[in-house]
Amino acid sequence: MAQQQYDVIVVGSGAGGGMATYQLANAGLSVALVEAGDYYDPADEAQRTQLRWPWESPRRGASTRRRPFGDYNSCIGGWELDGEPYTNKDDTDFMWWRARMLGGRTNHWGRIALRFGPLDFHRRDIDGLGDNWPIGYEDVKPYYDRLDRLVGVYGSNEGLPNDPDGFFLPAPKPRLHELYYIDAARSLGVPVIPARKSILTKRINDERGVCFYCSQCSRACGIHADFSSSTVLIYPALRGGRVDLYSNAMVREVTTDDQGLATGVAYIDKETGQDAELRGRSVVLAASACSSARILLNSRSARHAQGLGNSNDHVGRYLHDSTGASRAAFIPELIDREIYNEDGTSGMHVYTPWWLEDQNLDFPRGYHLEIGGGMGMPSYGFGFAANQYNAFLGERVGGYGNGLRDDIRRFYGSRLSIACRGESIAQYDNRCELDPTVVDEWGIPVLRFDYHWTEHEINQARHMQDSMEALLEAAGGTVLGNKPGADQDYGLTKPGEIIHEVGTTRMGDDPATSVTNSFGQLHDARNVFVADGGTFVSQADKNPTWTILALAWRQADYLVEQMQQRNI
């Protein structure tokens, strides 16, 4: 069958792939969107988990191997995928979260949408570690500005030097436990501001609804009031008629010609198990940082013997994730509180951006604080250790009978928690590469991870623990559990665990030390682009997705221009 040649083949439908598809199709290009997972729509009754009661699940929302963040989480994927293993080298313990569905991980992401600041693009100038980006905040700012208005994000203009202002929707009011946090932070001179989340607290167009405060964005929103790549970018792009969606299509490699340029992709149709090919003038990889690196490494040819874009052995290197640590406290003043509906928007309404930029600390780079607590909907696990806080009140823990009902009610919503998310230093030796022997169910070599934290991240985690303890105590809290010490790396999360992995195809002006140019275009093949977090040189303490989206838009503008100029 004679096959159409697309202007662009986009691989992966998460943040980067969704934005690429939307912008390229709007610019009039023909696009094939190739996604390894199935079609997904949170408003489809057969897939809906939003607004379900706990008893609609036999396990009451408990996690499963297939839904590690709970039975109602809108993730098809997780830490383990049937038929798609990955491996760790030596004592590496990298955790790799993958989604297999239209929209990728943006179906269940936390919607925390933070811009990078001016300093975040040239950290090497400041502390001598890692590398600078080849671009600065001023290059990305116009795209952040457009992104805010196209997709929507609530927050507030604060005039902070490294947490830039934007075009924000108004913030939701803080909940009671957040007021406790605000007072605590202020008493210690720690800044606290409204959260910044991609949730519509106000209408932005006629297609999407306005948040009705169910706190369930992790289940994906049926009225599309939160950002998912599928609901906000891909459905409209599909309606435009210039996009063909290939779902359940697992890309094996990018195919190339004698000149080393891409001719399209080879994929496996998961429904039939058959190999198939698509032809395109250009290819945009957005399969997530590690998956895109894997596709490149598996795209070997005479011209690209070590894999496409890998002539300098940089694909897969500089892999880095955010650091993390968390702590919680029992707030006695919240005992026996009034019960009312405080679901609010999903997750936090307030947060603390990094506040010690100019201090002399024993670690580089910063972290921010995410605040949790409140009277959430019970699901599996609620009522475990029902009256453990009795221990703090000199009362007996345990027992049975109707008195337990009073305990449950009494302590409901009396917890305040903090989670830190920090910047790590990208390392040449932290990487993913092809495992020499292991393949997935389609025979495609899988990734092997080799990743170790350095003293920078460990020292940072110690500082996180001190900050969290001080803040929780200032809120009147009794901090729960033991403070993790040096033997536990101060509670530092495992590499990959925060699910912000980036850096595997980093951008740069020097083709010897980077994989793509500043537009995510491969140095080794000018019609191949990377639109996910792979191109990050460093990731700031800001969650990556808002920057992935802005860079993908910037790249799309460049790609269209390059095509118009016949350079591709």
């Binding site: 009754e45 897939q47 809906r48 009661w53 706990p54 008893w55 009451r60 408990a62 499963t64 297939r66 039975d71 109602y72 805010d148 507030s156 075009f167 108004p170 913030a171 009011k173 803080p174 007021l179 605000i182 007072d183 409204p194 106000k202 209408r203 932005i204 167009n205 009705f212 169910c214 369930q216 049926g222 009225i223 003043e333 919240l334 509180r337 009034e338 019960i339 009312y340 509906n341 405080e342 679901d343 928007t345 009277m375 909907m377 019970p378 699901s379 599996y380 696990g381 009522g383 475990f384 029902a386 007996r396 345990g398 027992g399 049975y400 009978g401 109707n402 337990l404 009902r405 409901y412």
Partner: protein
Amino acid sequence: MDRRAYLQSLFLAPLAGSLIASSARAQDASTIDWTRLPSSYSYGRTEAEKQTDAELFAESYFREHELLTIAVLCDIILPGDHPNGGALDAGLPDFVEFMVKDRQQYKLPVRGGIAWLDNYALDNYGADFIHIEESQRLAICDAIAYPDVDTPELQPGIAFFSLMRNLTLTGYYTTEAGIRDLGYVGNRPNVWDGVPEAVLQKHGKQYDTEWLNKCVDQSRREITAEWDDDGNLIS
């Protein structure tokens, strides 16, 4: 789907878990009965998940005697003499059975825990836990319901009772009756507009004007957002 149609479609869905009042604290444990929970559910599952759940429901793990013991324990932990019903009304034995099959790590502790309980009852009162007097059962529970008891030979029983209490409470508070008992009033469309004034006062908290100025004016939420060139919201 627009918001209205979407929300309507949600509330047409029947709510499972209605109550059939059954036994209060059973006198004769062998006749104990409880509300049966459904054995098939529909809540946005993939084909693979449907199959796994069907397999779990088809699996039988507990013996009759074990299930009855679980039921008696659930009933002691959360009795039925309460306006919102107890563990048996809420179908807890079925829930515990499902969770133990779903979470392999519970299988042995629950089976072994029941056996420990029976041994203990036999040694002290001459019969299985469910076949001794109610007062004797409660005496055993008094001995194992509190983790601060450090008698070495009671430790397995204490660990088992804690597990059963966790499963019973989590099972109960995730039913309609439990949600009512707790008073949770969310999981429905609404408009969050801050902590009620009386609650603020009780806790000595307040919203300062500077912060409130950054917050959504809920009367204007349906007006499409517009900004000036500096990012100030003007609509």
